[in-house]
C-alpha cells in the first residue's frame, strides 16, 4: 500500500470519462474538490459534504459513490465517470433527453448526481417499476421538482432502452 505524507501534495492520475487526467491533491482533499477545482470538471456538484444529498454522486470503476465522502487519492489509478461523460458530441443521451422532456429538473443542481445514480442502476435494473425508481431516488434530495418528473423520466428512459434492445 502506498504511504502518503500528510503535509505533501500527491500526484493523482485517473481516467475521467474515458480520458487520462491528473492533478495534485493533499491526502485530505475530497474527490469532489479534486474533480471540480483541480481537474475543472465542475458538472459534479457539492450540496452537503456529508453524504446525504447525493448531488456529488459519480461512478468510481462503474459503481456510484459520493465524491464528497471519497478522497481524491482513493481514485488514483481508477476510472471516474461524471455527468460530463454522458452526452456525446454535444448530443444528450437518452436519459438526459427524457429528463428534458419530462421537466425533471429546474435549478439543475441535484441533477448530475441523480443522472449518475440512474445511469449505473438502470444497467442492472432494466425494468424497474415506480416504487423501485423512487427507492433508488431516495438517495438524492431535490428541492425543486417534487420528484414527479424525475420518476417519469427514469421510467421512460428504461422503457425506451428495453424497446431498443428488443425481445
Amino acid at each position: 500500500m502506498k504511504r502518503l505524507d500528510r503535509e505533501s501534495r500527491h500526484r493523482v492520475a485517473l481516467t475521467l470519462n474515458g480520458r487520462e487526467a491528473n492533478g495534485w491533491a493533499e491526502p485530505r482533499m475530497l474527490l469532489s474538490d479534486f474533480l471540480r477545482h483541480e481537474l475543472g470538471a465542475t458538472g459534479t456538484h457539492v450540496g452537503c459534504e456529508h453524504g446525504v444529498c447525493g448531488a456529488c454522486t459519480v461512478r468510481l470503476d462503474g459503481a456510484p459513490v459520493r465524491a464528497c465522502l471519497t478522497l481524491a487519492v482513493q481514485a488514483d489509478g481508477r476510472r471516474v465517470d461524471t455527468v460530463e461523460g454522458l452526452a456525446s458530441n454535444g448530443e444528450l443521451n437518452d436519459l438526459q433527453k427524457a429528463f428534458r422532456r419530462h421537466h425533471a429538473l429546474q435549478c439543475g443542481f441535484c441533477t448530475a448526481g441523480i443522472l449518475m445514480s440512474l445511469d449505473a442502476w438502470l444497467e442492472s435494473n432494466p425494468a424497474p417499476d415506480e416504487g423501485e425508481v423512487r427507492a433508488l431516488l431516495s438517495g438524492h434530495l431535490c428541492r425543486c421538482t417534487g420528484y414527479t418528473g424525475i420518476v417519469a423520466a427514469a421510467l421512460d428512459a428504461a422503457e425506451a432502452r428495453r424497446r431498443e434492445d428488443g425481445p
Binding site: C107, V133, R143
Partner: protein
C-alpha cells in the same frame, strides 16, 4: 405558431444536463483569489471579550483574518425597517446573539487552509442567558438581546377594520384556536456563495453572487459598506442551484466578504457549507397566532381577531418584519369577512435571523386561518367544505376590496372550488374515508383555501409604521419591473430582464413571450438574465421573489416586444404599402393582413434600422432596443386607515386531501391529494405544474419532517441533513393538479404568480386531515410520529435516569 401557453421544453436544460451549468462555485476567479472560511459563535448569547488571531495569521497560506474591528472601521450596521436603535453588523462586535453568528473570517490560499486557521483563532466569550421562545422573550426575567432597544419586543401595532367589536358582540358563536408555526427553511441544494473584490483606487466593491433580490437590499448593502450605490456593483451568475427565497440571505455575507476582500487586498471567494447553512443562513419566522372568529349560525364569519406574535430571531434583518406584513391586506384570505381586528407583535430571540422563504408569511397565516375554518365547522357541527364555500368571495364581487385593503383582482372562487371537488372526485374520497373508518382505521379528510399573493407592493412593509411615521418617511408603493428587447444587425433578438432567476426556467418563458409578440420561434430569441446593477435597468423591486415573474417581468417583456413590433410594423408598412396596424408577424415573416403572399423577412426589416437609418419612415428612431418599465397602478401606499393592497394579483387555490394515521406508530400517510389553481393565464403549463409540485414537496417537508430546532438553552439541534429531514421521492406523492384559469386584468399578460401557493395551503390541509382523523382540537407542525403518537396515546413518560 405561437408557443405561449404551451409546455415547450426548456432552453436551460441541455447545458444543465450536460454538467455545463455556470453556478457560483464554477465561475472563473482572478489569479491570487483568496478563499474564505467563517468562524462562528458556538454560543447563542455571549459577550465577546477578546479575539486572538496571531496563531491563525502565522499559518502559511493565510492572507488575512477579519474581525468585528474591521467591520467597525469600514462599515456601518445594517439599516432596520422599524425605528429601533438595533445594531446588526455583518460580523459580531462586542456580543453574539445567536449560535452561528460570524465572529471572524479567515482568507487563505485555499479553503482547506482557511478552515485550518479557524481552529487557531482564540476567542474568549462570557456566556449570557439565552432565550428562544417568543413568549418567554417577553418575560420580565428574559435576557434583553439589544440593550439600546431595551426590550425584546421591537414592534407592536394594532389595526382595526370595520366594526369588529360589534360583530363579536352580535355573533352567535365565537371560535378560537391558537397555533405555533415552527421554524423551517426551503434549503436549496446549492448553499450560499459569492466572489467579492475591492478596488482601493475608486473605493468601490464588485460582487458576483446568486443573490436573488429584492434589490431593495442593494442600497442596504451599499450603505453598510459606506459607498454610494454605483460603487457597489452587484452582478448575478448565470445559474443558481435553487433559492425559494433563501438566497436573499447571502446579503449580510456579501458585505462581510467585501470587507474581507478589502483587508486581504485580493478578491475573496466564499462558498457556504451545509452545516453553516442549516445553522446560520436564514429561516422562516416562527409565529404564534391566536385567531378568533365571530360566527353566525350558518357558519358565515362576520369578523376575525388575530393576535400574531412573530419571532424574527436575533436581529430584524431587512426586509423583516416583512414576513408578518406581506399578507396584511389579505389577512382574511379568500373570504368575505368585513370586520377585522389585528394585533401584531415582533420579538427577537437568540436564534438565526429570519428572511425570505417560499410562501413568505403565507404558511404562517394560512396555518392559523384554515385551522380556524376547520374548528368552526367542528364546533358548529357543519361540513368543513360548506363553511369554506359560504365564506368565499363571490364572483360578482370581483374585484373585491378586502377589509385590510387587498384588492382581489379576478377569479371565480366558488366555481373553481366546485371544479376541484368534482374533478378531484371528493365524493369518492368521502366514501373511502367512511370505509376506512368502518374498519376502525384513523382516516381523515382536510381542506384548505387561500389566495396566493404575487408581485409585492414595495410599500407593504411600511404598514409596520404608523400613518404619522409614514408621512415623515415619504410614500412607498409600486412594483417596477424592467425588460429589454433588442434586435441586432442581422435581425436576431435578445431579451434581458430584472428577474434574477433561481432555476425556474425564466429564459424559456421570456423566449416564448417575446417570440409570441414578434412572430418568432422561441429558439430565435436569446434570453440573457445575468443581472448587473451597474449596467442593467433595475428598480428596488427587481429580483426573484413574491412570485413576480409571470405577472411583472414577463409582462414587461411583452410590453417591450410589442414596442419593437410597432416600430417594425411602421417600417414594414412603408414597404408593404399597408397601414401599420394591419401588419402581421408570423413565423419570421412580416406581411399585411389579407395578403400573406407578399411578405418580408423579419431579419431584413429589422436590419434596416442598423444599416440604413436614413431610409426609415419619418419619426422612427434608429437602432432597435426597447426597454419597458411596468408598475401595477393599483399598488398604492398604505392609506391613513392602514389599508394596504400588498400585491398586484391574487391567485386562488383550493386543496383537499385524505390521510391515514397509523395508530401504532403515529405516522401520517398521504392517501390522496388534490390541488386546484386559478393562476390567471398560464404562460408555460409544464413550468406552472413544476412550480406547484415543487411547492407541494416543500410543504410535505414542512408538514411532516422539517424543523430548525433549538434546545431551551439556545443550542441548535438540526445542523445536518440527517437531523433536518428533507423529503425524498419516497415521501412525496404526486398530487393531482387541476386548473381553472381566469386571466387577470391586473397584469399585462393576464398571468398571476404560482410558485408559492402550495407552501401556504398544503401544510394546513394535511394538518386538517390529521385533525379530522384523530378528532383533536389543536396540533402543530411538523406532524412527526412522536407528536402524533402523543395525541393518540398521551405523552410518553420520561424514562428514569440511571
Amino acid at each position: 405558431m405561437s408557443t405561449l401557453g404551451t409546455a415547450i421544453e426548456r432552453v436551460e436544460d441541455a447545458a444543465l444536463l450536460m454538467g455545463r451549468g455556470r453556478y457560483i462555485d464554477d465561475m472563473p476567479v482572478a489569479p491570487g483569489t483568496g478563499h474564505a472560511a467563517i468562524l462562528r459563535s458556538p454560543h447563542p448569547h455571549a459577550r465577546l471579550l477578546s479575539i486572538d488571531t496571531e496563531a491563525a495569521l502565522a499559518l502559511p497560506g493565510v492572507h488575512a483574518v477579519v474581525t468585528g474591528e474591521d467591520a467597525r472601521a469600514w462599515s456601518t450596521p445594517f439599516i432596520v425597517s422599524v425605528r429601533q436603535p438595533m445594531e446588526h453588523w455583518c460580523i459580531a462586535i462586542d456580543r453574539v446573539r445567536y449560535a452561528g453568528e460570524p465572529v471572524a473570517i479567515v482568507v487563505a490560499e485555499d479553503r482547506y487552509r482557511a478552515e485550518d486557521a479557524l481552529a487557531l483563532i482564540d476567542v474568549r466569550y462570557e456566556p449570557l442567558d439565552a432565550v428562544v421562545d417568543p413568549e418567554a422573550t417577553l418575560g420580565a426575567d428574559a435576557p434583553v438581546l439589544h440593550e439600546k432597544v431595551g426590550s425584546n419586543l421591537v414592534s407592536e401595532r394594532s389595526f382595526r377594520y370595520g366594526e369588529p367589536e360589534a360583530a363579536f358582540e352580535a355573533a352567535a358563536h365565537t371560535v378560537t384556536t391558537t397555533v405555533r408555526y415552527p421554524r423551517n427553511s426551503c434549503t436549496p441544494i446549492e448553499c450560499l456563495g459569492l466572489i467579492a473584490a475591492y478596488d482601493p483606487g475608486e473605493d468601490a466593491y464588485d460582487v458576483l453572487s446568486h443573490f436573488q433580490g429584492p434589490l431593495t437590499l442593494h442600497p442596504v448593502m451599499a450603505r453598510a459598506l459606506k459607498v454610494p450605490g454605483p460603487r457597489f456593483r452587484l452582478r448575478s451568475v448565470p445559474d443558481s442551484g435553487g433559492s425559494f427565497g433563501i438566497k436573499q440571505a447571502v446579503f449580510p455575507l456579501i458585505v462581510a466578504m467585501a470587507l474581507a476582500a478589502r483587508k486581504a487586498a485580493r478578491p475573496v471567494k466564499w462558498i457556504e457549507d451545509r452545516l453553516e447553512h442549516l445553522l446560520a443562513a436564514t429561516s422562516a419566522t416562527n409565529r404564534m397566532t391566536r385567531i378568533e372568529a365571530a360566527v353566525e349560525a350558518d357558519g358565515r364569519i362576520a369578523s376575525l381577531r388575530l393576535d400574531q406574535l412573530e419571532d424574527c430571531g436575533a436581529y430584524l434583518r431587512a426586509p423583516e418584519p416583512a414576513t408578518l406584513y406581506r399578507n396584511h391586506g389579505n389577512l382574511t384570505g379568500p373570504y368575505c369577512i368585513p370586520h377585522l381586528a389585528v394585533n401584531n407583535r415582533v420579538v427577537v430571540t437568540n436564534k438565526t435571523p429570519t428572511g425570505l422563504n417560499r410562501g413568505f408569511g403565507g404558511p404562517q397565516l394560512y396555518y392559523a386561518l384554515e385551522r380556524l375554518m376547520q374548528r368552526v365547522a367542528v364546533t358548529l357541527g357543519l361540513d368543513p367544505l360548506d363553511v369554506i364555500k359560504r365564506n368565499l368571495v363571490p364572483a360578482d364581487a370581483m374585484p373585491y376590496r378586502a377589509a385590510a385593503g387587498a384588492v382581489l383582482d379576478a377569479g371565480d372562487f366558488p366555481a373553481t372550488l366546485d371544479h376541484g371537488a368534482r374533478e378531484g372526485a371528493l365524493d369518492a374520497l368521502r366514501v373511502r374515508r367512511d370505509a376506512a373508518r368502518a374498519e376502525g382505521r384513523l382516516y381523515g379528510i382536510g381542506f384548505a383555501a387561500a389566495v396566493e399573493s404575487s408581485v409585492s407592493n414595495m410599500g407593504y412593509i411600511t404598514t409596520v409604521l404608523s400613518a404619522e411615521e409614514r408621512r415623515k418617511a415619504g410614500p412607498k408603493d409600486g412594483a417596477v419591473s424592467h425588460a429589454t428587447v433588442a434586435v441586432d444587425p442581422l435581425g436576431a433578438v435578445t431579451v434581458t430582464a430584472d428577474s434574477i432567476p433561481q432555476g425556474q426556467g425564466h429564459r424559456t418563458v421570456l423566449a416564448q413571450v417575446v417570440g409570441d409578440a414578434l412572430g418568432l420561434a422561441p429558439a430565435q430569441v436569446t434570453v440573457a438574465l445575468e443581472h448587473d446593477t451597474q449596467r442593467d435597468p433595475w428598480s428596488i423591486a427587481a429580483g426573484n421573489y413574491s412570485s413576480r415573474f409571470s405577472g411583472a417581468v414577463a409582462g414587461a417583456a411583452h410590453l417591450a416586444a410589442v414596442r419593437v413590433r410597432e416600430r417594425l410594423a411602421r417600417i414594414a408598412s412603408q414597404q408593404l404599402n399597408a397601414r401599420p396596424e394591419d401588419v402581421r408577424f408570423e413565423q419570421g415573416r412580416i406581411f399585411a393582413a389579407g395578403n400573406p403572399g407578399n411578405d418580408l423577412d423579419f431579419r431584413r426589416v429589422a436590419s434596416l434600422v442598423h444599416w440604413s437609418p436614413g431610409s426609415l419612415p419619418d419619426g422612427v428612431p434608429p437602432a432597435l432596443r426597447e426597454t419597458a418599465r411596468w408598475t401595477p397602478p393599483q399598488l398604492t401606499p398604505p392609506d391613513d386607515d392602514d389599508r394596504i393592497n400588498n400585491s398586484a394579483a391574487y391567485s386562488f387555490i383550493f386543496d383537499f386531501c385524505g390521510v391515514e394515521v397509523d395508530r401504532a406508530t403515529g405516522a401520517v400517510a398521504i392517501d390522496r391529494y388534490v390541488t386546484t389553481h386559478d393562476t390567471g393565464r398560464r404562460l408555460n403549463p409544464a413550468l406552472v405544474d413544476g412550480q406547484i409540485r415543487g411547492a407541494f414537496a416543500h410543504a410535505v417537508g414542512a408538514a411532516f419532517y422539517e424543523e430548525l430546532a433549538y434546545s431551551e438553552d439556545g443550542s441548535f439541534l438540526s445542523g445536518t441533513l440527517a437531523d433536518y429531514l428533507v423529503p425524498t421521492a419516497c415521501e412525496v406523492p404526486d398530487p393531482q393538479i387541476l386548473h381553472r384559469d381566469i386571466p387577470t386584468p391586473a397584469t399585462p399578460l393576464g398571468a398571476k404568480g404560482v410558485g408559492e401557493g402550495n407552501c401556504m395551503t398544503t401544510p394546513v390541509c394535511l394538518a386538517n386531515a390529521a385533525a379530522d382523523a384523530l378528532g383533536v382540537e389543536s396540533l402543530d407542525l411538523p406532524l412527526t410520529p412522536a407528536r402524533i403518537g402523543d395525541l393518540i396515546h398521551g405523552p410518553e413518560s420520561t424514562p428514569p435516569r440511571p
